[in-house]
Assembly symmetry: C2
């Protein structure tokens, strides 16, 4: 592998996704991508007594399914690279306990989906492992409870709010085998333009998404038109137009490509009005990428995509102490073999 520009990696040994999975909850199962997901739970409890245990079950289910879809056993994995939104990333770490695979825990809020894929690709590309599992999860009720209010309170939300996706997505990155290739990654820097409102994450995260997209094209020398699709993590209906504006001001020709957002794709905003501005959470970009986008690649509808997962790095405590919201975005390019 080699570093290109300031903050991007080009993987030279074709690390590839040989198996992936997407497991979601009932709201995502009512959305436009429902037929793409590998498994849809019709309830939020998953047979567990707490929301946190339910999220962990979701993650464990997705991890097992990705391993099965890759046609390997968990003993073939060298490493598991994962994280989630819970304090001390308990969903990920307790899943790692069940897997028993050497484990690197991450926290990048909702950007963890692509942070984990970038690091898994780095490990495989550099010879540090033949097969590495990357994954993340979120659950609507764990996240709302931890960051805002327990859903049971029925608290009202402003229209800029987003709906945390209940879902987990995992991928097995391998040095050999068949599957789309992870070709590049751009690691983002923390951006904070002073937004304090935790009900307006899209606006807070948009500058981070734009900054990483600008860095990606600057570092790689590519143009947006190189990709069939550039998709952000969870900017939703408020953040995506802001990111578009910021990129336009920087002269990045995003009209050359399709520019969309996982948080807008996962729900039908007109019918599912309870999602407000769209989806969010680690599970949003993970399930849309590993469920929907990889299948569209397999079906020949997409050849080259750039997934720009966004994350808001606040904590309830940092908010209570008057801090603004630092945000980050990590971009990973996935390409069909022979697509060049």
């Amino acid at each position: 592998m080699k570093r290109v520009g300031k903050q991007s990696w080009e993987f030279e040994n074709k690390p590839r996704i040989i198996g992936a999975s997407s497991v979601v909850g009932p709201e995502e199962g009512e959305g436009p991508l429902k037929d793409y997901f590998d498994y849809v739970y019709d309830n939020l409890e998953l047979g567990e007594k707490t929301w946190e245990k339910a999220e962990r079950r979701l993650f464990e289910h997705a991890a097992q399914m990705a391993i099965a879809n890759a046609g390997i056993s968990k003993n073939d994995l060298q490493f598991f690279v994962g994280g989630d939104l819970m304090n001390q990333i308990i969903s990920s770490s307790f899943s790692a306990r069940q897997l028993g695979v050497p484990y690197l825990g991450l926290f990048g809020a909702c950007s963890t989906s692509m942070e984990s894929l970038a690091l898994a690709a780095l490990i495989v590309d550099s010879g540090g492992g033949d097969k590495v599992l990357a994954g993340t999860s979120s659950h609507n009720c764990t996240v709302e409870k931890q960051f805002r209010y327990p859903t049971e309170y029925g608290a009202q939300k402003p229209p800029t709010a987003q709906n945390t996706v209940t879902g987990s997505g995992c991928a097995v990155v391998s040095s050999t085998g068949k599957g789309p290739i992870v070709t590049r990654a751009t690691i983002g820097r923390v951006m904070d333009l002073g937004i304090k409102d935790p009900f307006n994450m899209g606006a807070a995260m948009a500058p981070a998404a734009a900054d990483t997209i600008i860095a990606h094209f600057r570092d790689t020398g590519l143009e947006p038109g190189y990709y069939d699709l550039v998709v952000t993590g969870d900017l939703a209906s408020v953040g995506l137009p802001i990111a578009k504006d910021l990129l336009e001001k920087e002269g990045i020709p995003m009209e050359q490509t399709v520019f969309n957002d996982c948080g807008l794709m996962i729900y039908d905003l007109k019918k599912q009005t309870y999602v407000f501005a769209g989806g969010s959470g680690c599970g949003c970009s993970a399930t849309v990428t590993y469920g929907h986008l990889l299948k569209r690649m397999e079906q020949g509808e997409l050849n080259k995509i750039l997934v720009v997962a966004t994350g808001a790095l606040l904590s309830p405590l940092s908010y209570q102490q008057g801090e603004t919201i630092p945000c980050i975005a990590h971009a990973v390019a996935i390409e069909k073999e022979g697509a060049n």
Copy 2:
């Protein structure tokens, strides 16, 4: 770089620590290692209005000092790899905001010190970056408040409890320059032998430390006597004897080397009785390694060391929900150039 055995990496391009730092609080400044630390604060507030802001200041101070000690500017850094114990790793992420360097956030509880060093070495060794900052922090008052009780309550503790270190340690890993070489890393798996008592972390973490040490010697084919010192992260007076017993049962000849623990080294347990079984926290192994051990290497007293940072991956919520404590340990070998 190449993978050796199941879960270890051998770095082939000599990633080296060209500058490091250790910044601690008053209790650590009263301990036996006081003269080794780069900076000792005589108070816990650091001029800030909250404990969390104080911890962040500690981290920012250590990051700036490591960069200065490396003789570079922050613009020379490609990446910052870090984490801490706070929910949503706010100490690390807010420090990343100040640094403005592309950032990979980690969570491995107290094992984050060596998780970040292993990943920084991986990035540098594989050509993914020329200069990468690794670091972590903890603060006694933020951690006690988040995981147990605010220190202001004056809650009593059992003798198995440990004292969270107020400190931050950072290192600049570089592909060129002078400094001790990061030669190997072993990534641990999650171990959980059923301990539930959050006031007995040493006992909970000992099996993870032993498992990673066993894996390290199995994977690399080395014997403990290869190292001048094998040091665990924060097992303290309860955990270290358990780890010793476990290793003895597995026939690992630890008597060939000096086997110690950062949590025992950082305080004088006889004089500083308020630390109970010893030190803990991300800042414990980070400041002992980057403050004390690297200086002893520079002075020629140590040539080859293996630092096995341990972490307890519980959250207050997982404990409240009756879960046992999953633990992990990551080992990194650091050697003086030409020590072979």
